[in-house]
Amino acid sequence: MPGVVWGPDVGSGLLALAVVLPVAGALLILPLGRHAERVPHLLFMAGLVLATAIAYHVWIGGVLTAAIGGWPAPLGIVLRADGLSAVMLLTTALVLVPVGIFAAGEFQPRTADGRESRAGLLFWPLMMGVWAGLNGTFLSNDLFNIYVALELLTLAAVPLVTLEGKAGTLAAALRYLLFALLGSLLYMLGAALLYGTHGTLDLTLLADRVRDDASALIAAALMTAGLLAKTAMFPLHLWLPPAHGGAPAAASAILSALVVKASFYLVVRLWFDLFPSLLDDTGATVLGLFGAAAILSGSVLALRQARLKLLVAYSTLAQLGYLFLMFPLAGGGTEAQPWTAGAWSGGIFHAVSHAFAKASLFLGAGILVQGIGHDRIADLRGAARSLPMVIAAFGLSGLSLMGLPPSGGFIAKWLLLTTAMASGRWGWAVVMFAGGLLAATYVFRVLNRAMATPEQPLRLVQPVHQSRQLAVLFLALVSVLLGLVPAIPFELLQIGGGLSTVEGFR
């Protein structure tokens, strides 16, 4: 084994660093206390470089694997990065950098009188924990190791919800925690059954050994149910809006953009890599129906919200619904007509573009709260004049939610739609159209208010630093850019994806 890292295979050596970096960050920030001001930003930048390097190595050399400690599977834990992992890693890093810049205006480890600030300090290690949990999930090829990474994610994410110390967020955080815990236990239960049946938890080994039988079905059902609870998928979704809507804006952005995607990512891994036969089954239709219910109910509820942050949170429920349409759409294909590819690429692309759009929306809502003192949609008149960058970003991100060109959301929904129509399954297409219309209604409802001219010019209660507005705009621009140059991410996504990604974009 010696020489693996320093030899030609530098890329594999980088994988573990993607988890080491944020963990080391948390361990550093804690003793540094109020002197930790600059550390997180340096780490976020380093993380972006690292994620880019990993993606680059995947791009030129294909799938990367690294056996931790030199112990190969099934005895040890193997890290594995294919195109999908690399894309998720990059998305995470690209969202975290602007969110970090945005959050610096709100969370300072040192208070004005030079003491250590509770929220100002703890926000940063908690972010590092979320980041480590995300990277750990995206890179691990071992089902139990993923369980530990998911728990790290949960235990770092839940305190973020209550970080501002508002009493109203406590119940939301508890509901979130209970759902997440039950979800991980169900997931672990499925993993235990797989271990009992096949004697390994390594995804690659399992993919060869899993048969299409009753015990696989029970394990798959348990794991999927657990992960649905963690993803806030209908009908296990009610914990999400109060938790995401009540958290500080920077935390909401991370929770809605990235954290729920980790468990979604796992559902994709399980269904496409481990239990591909399920895609042709009624189970996939059930997932799709849940998705459809989420799209419609989430959008309608978003329409009825009086506050922007809650509107954005309910819109997350709806947008998560689209992700689950990929399961029924991927099934039923033949070699001549590979529905799988279009549905898979569409679903993943939606997850990525929604991450950028939603992060931008939550940060924008946070700026409105800071700048004009509230986020009541009815009283937004004049906001476009006072905070033009934020409202512009809202419009751009809104394109992705509605699925209008040019945006990443358009490409994603277009892929899903064409798959649905090409395979003659009109029902799913109708749901997507309806969801798009509803999204347009709630986006324009906000824009309409914000662009209206007020009777008196809107006065900012507190100045908003330029860098925070730029962070919001940057995220919105990325979500649009994805729609303009989709080819690069698509080629990256297809690396090592096996049957699921062939013929994706073309």
Binding site: E151, A167, L170, L174, L185, G196, G199, A306, R307
Partner: protein, 117 residues
């Protein structure tokens, strides 16, 4: 399918684990008090671990067993304690701030949320 395997030693503990999970799920749904819910989640966790332990015992009956699941279960127990500590502190804080020890009914009314901010 072999029903006989349920009546071996590991089978017995596997079934006990399965039933403990069922009892825990029931308690989690039905009991409103948050300390009860935390107990119920821990009960589900213990059941999951016991079932996994039965799996390990099948691979190598008697003292020792399969050490890989054992190590995972130890990790799982520590993780469960971590989550319990956080949940307990949240419950405590909720009780001090609001006097409640249960979650409010589904929080769908935006007015409730508006009051909070």
């Amino acid at each position: 399918m072999s029903v006989d395997s349920l009546f071996t030693q590991p089978g017995l503990y596997g079934v006990t684990g399965a039933l403990a999970i069922g009892i825990g799920v029931y308690g989690l749904i039905v009991r409103p008090h948050l300390v009860r819910k935390i107990i119920a989640v821990n009960m589900v966790g213990s059941g999951v671990f016991l079932l996994f332990g039965a799996v390990a015992d099948r691979a190598a009956p008697g003292p020792g067993g399969d050490p890989v699941p054992h190590a995972m279960i130890i990790t799982g127990i520590v993780v469960a304690l971590s989550a319990t500590a956080l949940a307990a502190t949240l419950t405590l804080r909720l009780s001090r701030e609001t006097g409640r020890t249960a979650l409010p009914p589904e929080p769908e009314d935006p007015a409730v949320q508006d009051k909070e901010s």
